[in-house]
Structures are given as structure tokens and as C-alpha cells.
């Protein structure tokens, strides 16, 4: 070995990270729980309260049962389709045109969520933390950070998520516990709020709350064993619905009905009311800061999913180049509406249009694939 010849081997010895990043079960659980809970934290309670008054927590339970039912239906097909996401299956069904169509549909569903989230997050940062800074600056910073984040890959984002997301949940727990002095049981009555009819209708209208279960299907190529997504998906849905339930319960207990549908940022309002003694009272900026990290992780994962979908659709070998384009497009589109009111109205319509796709695509496409395979086997 002393100054001798060097054998530079092209094979990797002793561990280079492989290109196809894999994530473990716990990371996948917390990742999907993050995707599903961020909506609960930012704007969703207002919509749920608008449809069912103080019976919002009943509506949350109803919605999570619906989402769970759809998820289980899509799990039934895993035995036959295996570790392939719907884009790969679409290629097998109808070759390239069908694959591109399905990929564009998936991108539309994801992009609607993402654009709303980017704009609402920047707006909430502007309202709470930095009132005078222009929103374009906040978006530039967000975009640059997301680029850096997605450059590091999915495993890194999943690891950091597995460290930070439980901390966010612990903070939520603090809020719920510290607010117990201001709870008033009478705010929960009348029990059924606006009536059972409005709960049922509202549940179906607001089902886009849990529409990120599409990610369970899109992350299928990145896991090691086919039984992992089932366990992870169920656990993640449980965590997310518990989070949503606790937030809606505390919000309903603190604020009586007509005003609970008025506040733009419900959880921020909850955190301003925390008071435990004279000095322990002004916590909301800390709280926003903890959430910011979970929001950045959400954006990183979304960018990863969108760019991977597009890369697979157009058969590109590297997904990093698309990321920059996607981020730029998302930032420009989300800056378009000039006021928050327009954003809320447009996003509501767009959500209703695309949320049902998010639940139906993971069921319909594998079913088509199974039919096609049976036909091919029979003939």
C-alpha cells in the first residue's frame, strides 16, 4: 500500500447512498401525518365550523372515517399491483399518453394544495411575524429554502421530519392543556350544531381536508416492504385525525359559534389566549416558529412529489431540473390574486374540484390495471 498504485474502482464499496432513496416505516408514518395535519393547523377549522357550527368535531370524526374507508379500498389492490405507484401502473395500462394524462391529473391535485399553502403560509407569516415586509420577499426566501431542501433528497427530509414533527405535536398538546382554564362546556351545545343534514353534507364538501392520502400511493416505490404503507397509512391517518379533532374541540370549547367561523388563523387565536401566570403568556410567535419548520418540510415533500411525478411522466432521468421550474411557476401563480379574500374563494372551488380525484385515482387506476391483467391472462 505504500505509495503504490491506486485502484479506483467504480463500484461503491462501504456505502454510497443509492439513487433510489428509501424511507423506513416510522419516517413514512410521520411524513404522511405531517402532510395531513398541516391543513388542520392553518386554515381548515374555519371551513368546518362554517358548515356545522359547534358540531365540528363530529364532522371531523365523520370525515376521517370516510377517508379511512377510501384508504382501505385502495389498500386492497396492493396485493396484485405491488410496489408501483399509479403513474407506473398507468404506463402499463395505456402507454405514454395515458401516463402523461394521469400524471397531469395528479400534478393538478397536488399543485392546487401546494399553491394555496404557499400563499396562505406567506400571508400568515406576514400577518403575525413580519407585518411590513413585502410578501414577495417572504416568498423568495421560501422558494430558495425549498430548493435547498429538495436538493438534499427525500431521506434527509424524512429524517428531519421524524425529529421535528413530534415536537410540533408536543406544542399542540401544550396549547390544548394550557387552555383548559378557558374552556367552557356550554360552547359545545347544542350538540348537533346546524343539524345532522348539514354535518353530512359538510363532511363531503370538506373531504379535501384529508386529500393528501394520495401521497401514500405516490411514495410506494420508496419503501422496502409492501406491508409498510398499510400500517403507515393507517397510523398517519389516526394521528392526523386526532390532531384535527383536538384542535377543533379546543377551538369549539373556547369560542362560541358565530365567531368561531370568523377568525382567519384559528390556531393562532388559540395560542394567543394561553395564560399560565403573569409571565407565561405571550407565546404565539414561538409557536409560529415551530410550525414554520413543519411547513417547510411539507413544502419540500410536496416539491419532491410533484417533480418526481413530472419526471416520470416525461421520462426524465433527473428530477432536480424540473424542481426549479415548478417552484418558480408555483410562486408566480400564488402571487397572482391580489387579496386574501380572492385566494380563499378560489382555493375553495379548486379544492372541491380536485379533492375527489385524490381519493378516486388510487382506487380506479389499480382496478383498471387488474382488469387489464386478467384480460391479458385470459387471452
Amino acid at each position: 500500500m505504500a505509495g503504490g498504485q491506486i485502484n479506483v474502482s467504480r463500484e461503491t464499496i462501504g456505502g454510497k447512498m443509492t439513487k433510489n432513496e428509501t424511507i423506513t416505516e416510522r419516517e413514512m408514518t410521520l411524513l404522511i401525518a405531517n402532510l395531513l395535519s398541516v391543513k388542520a393547523i392553518f386554515a381548515f377549522p374555519r371551513e368546518i365550523f362554517a358548515s356545522s357550527a359547534n358540531a365540528a368535531w363530529i364532522e371531523v370524526i365523520y370525515m376521517s372515517l370516510l377517508a379511512w374507508a377510501m384508504l382501505e379500498l385502495s389498500f386492497l389492490t396492493y396485493k396484485i399491483s405491488g410496489k408501483k405507484s399509479i403513474i407506473d401502473l398507468a404506463e402499463k395500462i395505456g402507454k405514454k399518453p395515458f401516463k402523461i394524462a394521469v400524471a397531469l391529473l395528479v400534478t393538478a391535485v397536488l399543485a392546487v394544495n401546494f399553491i394555496t399553502e404557499v400563499r396562505m403560509f406567506s400571508e400568515s407569516v406576514k400577518i403575525i411575524l413580519l407585518p411590513k415586509t413585502d410578501i414577495e420577499y417572504i416568498m423568495i426566501l421560501l422558494a430558495v429554502t425549498i430548493c435547498l431542501g429538495q436538493k438534499s433528497g427525500l431521506s434527509a427530509a424524512a429524517t428531519i421530519n421524524a425529529i421535528f414533527f413530534p415536537i410540533c405535536l408536543v406544542f399542540l398538546g401544550f396549547i390544548v392543556i394550557f387552555l383548559s382554564k378557558t374552556y367552557n362546556m356550554n360552547n359545545l351545545f347544542p350538540i348537533l350544531g346546524n343539524g345532522t343534514g348539514s354535518i353530512l353534507k359538510g363532511g363531503i364538501k370538506n373531504i379535501s381536508c384529508f386529500s393528501d392520502v394520495l401521497a401514500v400511493n405516490l411514495l410506494l416505490p420508496h419503501i422496502q416492504d409492501i406491508s409498510i404503507p398499510k400500517k403507515s397509512g393507517r397510523k398517519a391517518l389516526l394521528i392526523a385525525s386526532l390532531t384535527m379533532l383536538f384542535i377543533c374541540l379546543s377551538y369549539a370549547l373556547c369560542y362560541p359559534y358565530p365567531w368561531s367561523k370568523e377568525f382567519l388563523l384559528p390556531v393562532y387565536q388559540l395560542s394567543t389566549r394561553i395564560r399560565a401566570g403573569e409571565y407565561f403568556q405571550r407565546f404565539e410567535a414561538f409557536f409560529e416558529f415551530v410550525w414554520e419548520i413543519s411547513q417547510l418540510l411539507y413544502s419540500t415533500i410536496y416539491i419532491f412529489l410533484i417533480s418526481e411525478t413530472l419526471a416520470k411522466a416525461f421520462s426524465l432521468s433527473d428530477r432536480t431540473a424540473i424542481c426549479y421550474g415548478v417552484i418558480a411557476a408555483v410562486a408566480l401563480i400564488s402571487i397572482e390574486p391580489s387579496s386574501v379574500v380572492t385566494v380563499l374563494a378560489v382555493s375553495k372551488i379548486a379544492d372541491m374540484a380536485t379533492a375527489h380525484l385524490a381519493y378516486l385515482l388510487p382506487i380506479v387506476i389499480p382496478v383498471l390495471y387488474i382488469i387489464k391483467r386478467k384480460k391479458a391472462q385470459n387471452s
Partner: protein, 540 residues
């Protein structure tokens, strides 16, 4: 005379005679001998049978006319056989050469007939009495040995020469570890002698499975080193990857192990280092017994431990020697000190400049009134005090010891107090900076304290520019960058959350629960102890 010269110069305007200034000229000829461009036939030049020819080659290679510390001693053995010794004065132990080489060569062979010729076996096995002697047939091997403190022996009529390892140069004795102090536990530290260091580790582990593979770094300096690992535990591909990287270093002179660590690291420009350097043999022994690989180089009193993860770099040597409660408390204090030293100035700026509603009202009045007379904005004040503190710290390293510590105290207290009285800074800034500084002294690793200083600056800038939003962004970017980096094949943040070993990495586990080796090292033997380590507890 010079007076007249001055007069001549100024009144009669005579130009001063200028002496010629020295200017480095480019070398015109190529060097006679360049070790890097050795042709194979030159490299494998065989030793001649004739002692005069050997001597000519040696004198030419060692530049004997100019090199004052090369000694060539001629001897005539029994039977009128000529031979000579070559060695460097000052690098060799003179007594050993006298007693072990010259005396036997001159006196001992009373068994041979007169005029008999010697063969290499006889010379080596019966005549040279030194315990580490090797024979070789190429010049290069003998010359390499001589360059590292050996004594070359050439005998007439033999085409083999011998090299006896008689190295002895002035070196330090074993002292206390200055930079990794621990109240309990052994207090020895490494020295600059390679064999001494590997012996210090071997005397702790005492197993023949501890392998010290030899490596040589540097094309010219040929610094010897060892790669230490336990053969039945360490992962084979890890060892091969390390050796592959070290062999891939192509540089003339590599002098210290810190340079080696910079040359074999995957991310040398990142803020956080990914290799652990320690000067305590007990720490190296502990790491090697877990399945890691240790690297040592001659001339460096530090050893490298590869691979590491982020949590290991915050451990200190004393964690293994304290009781569980005390060690955990010590580690908790260290983690809090780390958090304070990195985040406190940035958070302070963010809160007072952007989110003043977070502070209790009375504290805000105190801050506001104490800043009334200060002419600078907060950022400038903080950076000014921070820079002064860093200057004091840097100066304290270079001062001789008694003055160094006094300077620290004087600088800190009086400078701070005087600055407050002169109304250049506010008192609260002094508190922030001193807390930060004290927190940064609490880190266990020297390289890591530099990481924290750079991070502190980054957080000051982002906190002052964007408040909490900026600090959150900074934390996210740093976390993502270290999560995606690897250290010799293992992710830098392993064990991943969800792994049971994570709490062993962050907190000190009781010693009777450490029965498995870390999984991410993928060792050959995962178990290192029984499930019940304290058999005496199971009953009489």
C-alpha cells in the same frame, strides 16, 4: 568617512551605491534526482556485490559532501571483509549501534575459518545482534529505512544489505491530556511516536485480533501510519474503503493527521466536521471495541475515529466514567449550553427588533431604557462585542500561560464595564455575549466549537434580517444539510429516530444495558455482552 559620503550624497548629488537586493531566480536545470519521477529500473536498483560501488551510490544519493549529519562508518570484519554502516547522526541510538552492531561485527565470529566468505544468513542471524533487522536487495528499501532512523549495513561480497531499526530521537514523554480533560478515568494522552501510540491502545485491548495495518502517506515524506481495527468485529468493506481513500492521496508531503483527515473527508467544506479526532487512548480503545476504525500517523499526537455521527461529536471523555445520573446531568447541561451559545444572540435580536410583544412588559422597559444612550443599532453593537470577545479568545491562545488567563478576565470584565460606562454598549448586550461565550466553552470538541461560532454568526445575520422567520429558515437549512451528509457510508444523523439506540446516543445509558454494538456500523458481531451483565444480582 561616512560623514563625507553623506555630504557627497546630499550636496553633490551623488547617487548612493546600491547594494544588490536578493531576488529569487527561477531554477534553470532540472533536478538531478526527483523521487516522484523515479523510473522503475531506478526504483528497483539492485545492490551490487562490490562494496565500493555501493558506497558510491550511497554517497551520491545522500549528497554526502554537503549533508553533515550522514555518517558512514567503515568496518573490516574478520577475514578482511569490508563493510560499512550508514546512518543519520541524531536519529539513531548510538549505544545500540555500538553494542549491537559494531561490536558483534568486529569481534564475534571466532568460529569461521580465516578467509571464509560470509553469506547473508550468517551475517543476519549470528552477527548482527539487534532485535529488528531486515534485509533487502534494492537500494530504495534500505534508504527508506535509513531515512526513518535505521542503520544500513553493507557487506562486501553480498548483494543483500541489512537495515537495523535503531531509531531514537528526542521526543515528549506521556503527559496529561490537555484538551480533553476528565476528572475520573485514565489521564494519559498520545505522543508523537507511532509505536508508542499503538502500544498505548493495545495495552488496553489486549487481544491478538486487534490489527494494526501499515499505511504510508505522502509520496516524498512517506509518513508511516496505522489503521487499527478488530478483525472479528469491524466491517470489512469499511476498512477497505478507508484504505482505498488513503492510498488515493497523492501529495508530496503529508505531515500531520489533520491534513489526512481533510484529504479523506467527503464534505471538507461543510461547517460541521465529520471525523472525530481525539488524544486519549481510552477513547480510541472504546471506539475500536464498538467496531469503528482508528487511524494514527507518526508525528501526530491525535488519532482519528471513523465513522462518526452527529451525536458522538458532542460526547465528552468523562461520560463513560461518571455515574449514570451525573453523566446525564452533565450531558444535559452541555446540550443546553450548546443551544444557548448558538441561538441566544440571534433570538435576542429577533425578539427585541421584531417581536417585542413576546417579552414581559417590565423587561422590555428595562431593555429600552438601558439602550437609550447607545448610539449604535443593536446589530452593530452585538457584532462589535462579539468580535472583541473572539479577539480576546484568539489572543489568549497565543499568550504564555499565566498572562493568558489574566488577560481573559481583564479583557472581559474591564472592557465590558468600561464600554458600558462610556455608553457604547448596553449592559444587556454584555450579558448576552458572556453567556454565549461561556456556553461555547462548554462544548467538548474543539472543532465543534468552531462550528458553533460560525452558526452563531449565521443566526445573528438571519435573525437581524428576518426575525423568527429567518431563524426558522436557518435551522431548517442546517438540519437538511447535515441530514443528507454521510460520514464514511453511514448517514450523519444515524441512529434515525425510531431506532431504540437514539436515546443511547443522546443520553448516557447505564453500562449494564449496553449489550449490543451500534447497528448502523453493521459489525460482524452485534452482541458484546450478555443480557444480564450483573450476574451477581441474580441471587447467591
Amino acid at each position: 568617512m561616512s560623514f563625507f559620503n553623506t555630504v557627497k550624497r546630499y550636496l553633490l548629488y551623488q547617487q548612493k551605491e546600491e547594494k544588490e537586493q536578493f531576488v529569487l531566480k527561477k531554477p534553470e536545470n532540472k533536478p538531478i534526482y526527483d523521487v516522484r519521477e523515479e523510473k522503475p529500473e531506478q526504483k528497483n536498483k539492485k545492490i551490487f556485490k562490490s562494496v565500493e560501488k555501493n558506497r558510491d551510490v550511497i554517497e551520491e544519493r545522500f549528497n554526502y559532501q554537503k549533508n553533515a549529519d550522514v555518517v558512514i562508518r567503515e568496518l573490516t570484519l574478520r577475514g578482511d571483509t569490508k563493510s560499512f554502516l550508514v546512518f543519520y547522526d541524531g536519529m539513531c541510538r548510538g549505544d545500540t549501534i555500538n553494542e549491537g552492531i559494531i561490536k558483534p561485527l568486529l569481534r564475534l565470529p571466532f568460529l569461521e575459518k580465516k578467509g571464509a566468505k560470509y553469506d547473508e544468513k550468517t551475517v543476519l542471524e549470528t552477527l548482527i545482534v539487534h532485535n529488528q533487522t531486515k534485509k533487502a536487495q534494492c537500494f530504495d528499501e534500505i534508504i527508506d529505512g535509513i531515512n526513518f532512523g535505521g542503520c544500513g549495513i553493507f557487506v562486501d561480497g553480498l548483494d543483500t544489505a541489512f537495515c537495523a531499526d535503531v531509531k531514537d530521537w528526542p521526543h515528549r514523554s506521556v503527559e496529561k491530556a490537555k484538551n480533553e480533560q476528565s476528572i475520573y478515568g485514565p489521564q494519559e494522552a498520545f505522543i508523537e511516536m507511532l509505536r508508542g501510540n499503538s502500544a498505548q491502545v493495545r495495552k488496553i485491548l489486549k487481544t491478538e485480533k486487534l490489527v494494526c495495518e501499515e499505511i504510508s502517506v505522502g509520496n516524498v515524506s512517506k509518513t508511516p501510519g496505522v489503521v487499527m481495527y478488530l478483525e472479528d468485529v469491524a466491517n470489512k468493506s469499511l476498512v477497505e474503503e478507508i484504505k482505498r481513500r488513503i492510498c488515493g492521496i497523492s501529495s508530496d508531503y503529508v505531515i500531520s493527521i489533520e491534513e489526512v483527515s481533510m484529504l479523506i473527508e467527503e464534505n471538507p467544506l461543510m461547517i460541521t466536521g465529520h471525523i472525530l479526532a481525539t488524544e486519549r487512548p481510552d477513547r480510541v480503545a472504546r471506539a475500536v471495541s464498538e467496531g469503528r476504525v482508528a487511524l494514527m500517523l507518526s508525528g501526530s499526537p491525535r488519532a482519528l475515529i471513523l465513522p462518526t455521527n452527529a451525536y458522538e461529536m458532542t460526547h465528552s471523555a468523562s461520560d463513560a466514567y461518571l455515574r449514570v445520573d451525573f453523566a446525564n446531568m452533565s450531558r444535559t447541561i452541555r446540550l443546553i449550553a450548546t443551544a444557548i451559545s448558538v441561538l441566544l444572540p440571534g433570538l435576542f435580536l429577533a425578539i427585541t427588533m421584531y417581536h417585542a410583544e413576546m417579552l414581559p412588559t417590565y423587561l422590555l422597559y428595562a431593555i429600552s431604557s438601558s439602550r437609550q444612550n447607545v448610539p449604535f443599532p443593536s446589530v452593530v453593537e452585538l457584532l462589535l462585542m462579539d468580535f472583541s470577545f473572539e479577539m480576546i479568545r484568539e489572543a489568549g491562545i497565543r499568550m504564555p500561560n499565566p498572562i493568558g488567563s489574566v488577560l481573559g478576565i481583564v479583557g472581559g470584565l474591564i472592557l465590558g464595564q468600561a464600554a458600558v460606562s462610556a455608553k457604547i454598549v448596553s449592559p444587556i448586550m454584555i450579558i448576552i455575549i458572556s453567556l454565549t461565550g461561556i456556553g461555547s466553552f462548554a462544548t467538548a470538541d474543539y472543532a465543534l466549537s468552531w462550528t458553533y461560532r460560525i452558526l452563531k454568526l449565521i443566526f445573528i445575520l438571519t435573525g437581524a434580517a428576518f426575525g423568527f422567520f429567518g431563524i426558522g429558515l436557518g435551522i431548517f437549512v442546517y438540519a437538511i444539510l447535515i441530514a443528507s451528509s454521510t460520514s464514511f457510508g453511514i448517514p450523519f444523523l444515524s441512529p434515525a429516530p425510531g431506532n431504540k439506540l437514539l436515546k443511547n446516543a443522546v443520553f448516557v445509558p447505564p453500562i449494564w444495558k449496553m449489550e449490543r454494538r451500534p447497528e448502523y456500523l453493521k459489525t460482524k458481531k452485534p452482541k458484546r455482552g450478555d443480557k444480564i451483565s450483573k450476574k451477581w444480582q441474580a441471587g447467591r
